[in-house]
Symmetry: none
């Protein structure tokens, strides 16, 4: 089954809002094994909407609309579709009851135009709106399916999950299961990763292998189709294994996880605590860690030692080190990591010092980064990175490299 998403609303064409609806629906449809080849945004204009529908009918079996179901004059999605399909609009008692109750609840009088929201296409399956007034609709006409959903994501998303998705699955009568798995990598560029598995990408059929770069990371989505869900999973297992044989050292987790979340989980498992001294990253590393619920079990705390004064007085970096080697140095990173670990009585200390830019510092260009790691009873490690990008890309990638190295430390 091929689907197409048509989002209706001039506010989208004026750039006033982002079309998160198209993403939400596309992700669900992909998981359901429904191909989406086009997403279109069109304004609150009946002629242009009609021509968009006609084009979509040439290439899709299922057309999903979002927006234009509201009470005002410029909401015309269902009116346009009704005229196009030759279907009447009829009052839906359930929806009308809901609208009247809503106005009772907020203590305002219902204006006449709100009644329009309770009109639905004849012969349609009504999709109840539990978070708003306008109901959704699902209707078949000449072997094509049409689903109408409201525009506000807070209404559309729960309606689709509870009523829209099951309605589509019901007509899919699927023979095959579709299984998807996302592998997440850090520390390797998209083109390098693709080069490493180029032969696999060239010869991909089932599972498909789709790399994607973003936010300093790369993901690979593996998708397999098979009658048996178990077999589809085994097919993915096999490809995953081969990929990890080649680039496994950069792999850190599956799906929607973050490298910081993986680190927090790993530290919890090993019952280890960390303490941080952040110069270059200025709190960003600890902020990533504390964004994870439950971080308090592993993060003892830390120091943002943005100035040399703070490095010396709060983390006891020796004046000699700062004078002889500078703040952007292996020695400084080492002392920061060791001292912050001891100060906070943690198992592992980690430090970040370097140059985020835009200006150079102590004759080091932006992107020069030292990360120190000190573990109780072990020799300290210090890593030098040379990162490209602007100030915030350098800061962001440095903090993620911190997670990356700590994950390796905990292997």
């Amino acid at each position: 089954m091929n689907a197409e998403i048509i989002s209706v609303g001039s506010e989208l064409l004026l750039g006033q809002i982002v079309n998160t609806n198209a993403q939400f629906l596309s992700r669900h449809l992909a998981e359901m094994g429904v191909n989406v080849f086009y997403q279109t945004v069109v304004g609150d204009n009946s002629d242009r909407l009609l021509s968009t529908i006609q084009k979509a009918e040439e290439r899709a079996d299922l057309i999903i609309f979002t927006g234009g179901l509201g009470p005002t004059r410029d909401d015309l999605t269902k009116e346009t579709i009704a005229a196009h399909l030759g279907k009447k609009l009829v009052l839906n008692d359930e929806a009308f009851k809901g609208i009247r109750q809503y106005f009772l609840k907020i203590g305002r009088e219902m204006t006449e135009n709100n009644k329009k929201q309770a009109l639905v296409l004849e012969d349609c399956l009504v999709l109840p709106n539990e978070n708003g007034m306008a109901p959704g609709m699902f209707v078949k006409s000449k072997n094509k399916f049409y689903m109408l959903l409201p525009g506000p994501p807070k209404e559309m998303q729960p309606m689709f999950e509870k009523y829209g998705r099951p309605a589509i699955l019901n007509v899919l009568d699927r023979q095959e299961s579709i299984v998807s798995r996302v592998l997440r990598f850090f520390g390797i560029g998209e083109s390098q990763l693709e080069t490493e598995i180029e032969d696999m990408i060239m010869n991909q059929t089932n599972p498909t292998i789709a790399p994607l770069a973003g936010d300093g990371e790369v993901t690979i989505r593996l998708t397999a189709k098979h009658r048996s869900k178990e077999t589809a999973n085994e097919m993915i297992d096999k490809v995953e294994k081969e990929i990890l044989n080649r680039v496994g050292e950069y792999f850190y987790g599956y799906g929607q996880t973050t490298i910081a979340a993986e680190l927090v989980q790993k530290l919890k498992q090993q019952n280890k605590t960390i303490a941080c001294a952040e110069s270059l990253t200025g709190g960003l590393f600890q902020s990533m860690i504390t964004a994870v619920a439950g971080a308090s079990a592993v993060l003892k705390g830390g120091i943002v030692c943005y100035t040399n004064e703070a490095k010396e007085h709060l983390v006891d970096v020796s004046k000699k080190t700062l004078d002889t080697f500078g703040a952007v140095s292996e020695q400084c990173a080492k002392e920061l990591a060791e001292n912050v670990r001891k100060k906070l009585n943690a198992d592992i200390g980690i430090s970040f010092t370097g140059v985020a830019g835009p200006d150079s510092l102590e004759e080091n260009p932006p992107g020069t980064v030292w990360i120190g790691i000190s573990e109780k009873g072990k020799e300290s490690k210090v890593v030098l990175l040379k990162l490209a990008g602007d100030r915030n890309q350098i800061r962001n990638r440095t903090a993620k490299y911190g997670c990356h190295f700590l994950l390796r430390t905990c292997q």
Copy 2:
């Protein structure tokens, strides 16, 4: 002039990412007086892209593409357009130099597929990419204009603002000037702000007044049209003055600034330094400050005291305070702010303690936030907030409230 936006990328059709590019470009085009009647998303598939281009040519004068300019095999936007327009792809020396320099800088070997990124359409205006490798292009063919932009927003947005927008304005030959100004507010909700200026919004004509909420903030975009740019600016000045008369206490800056950037600038002007003790925010406040270039002039540093142990040993909060009032208390916030200021010898100390959730802490529900501010020679102030939202919304809004209160302190 009518424009159409075509975003190319299977990751959009799979719902892996949101199409913020279409919003960004639509907003800019609306401001430039260019109508956008359609946005389309199509996958990395040459045939489907071609049919989308042909449809767009029927209804638009300018077609803007985002995505598909990268190094990998599935990036095929420019190849498809070149074949369609009968234009060759030629190596752009400037872009190729940039790509080689990038790899030299990061100390990795350039894989062969990266060279592809330096190929551009013959006879095009090359739009330099100052934040990545693939350049953009602007080309005319048979009275239609085509603009090709990279997919990653961090590359596309600055490229469009610096090179794409002027190139379009240049062919528009416009008689009127269009002037836009964005006012940024924090600490007031969208609906409250809209209520305060409802009469102005109802009666808007020129300038237009467009409020927009996002990321815990509200912006108002004022746009005026006039033959004289000076007069358009004066028209905006007048409306801005009236708005700030009503909700000025929440206003913090113009355009693309951030509340942290405004704070850093204000502190610099007043030659003041700050020190921070972060419990709840776990480094996020300092990370926002250090994201601003030049933050080292105002941020002495700080302590992430996520545990009570760290509060006691690193920031000298008295055991009695922690035992009697708890960590989530006015007293604790006060001691944290005062002690961190003294420890780092700063002019102002600021502290954050509270509950980000998902769990309650010391019988306080998530969203309970204390912010302490201590100024040399003045009595300390402590503010209690009760914020709604999930863990990261609470953290984010708390850090921004920190900036908000410090900006007021520096008035």
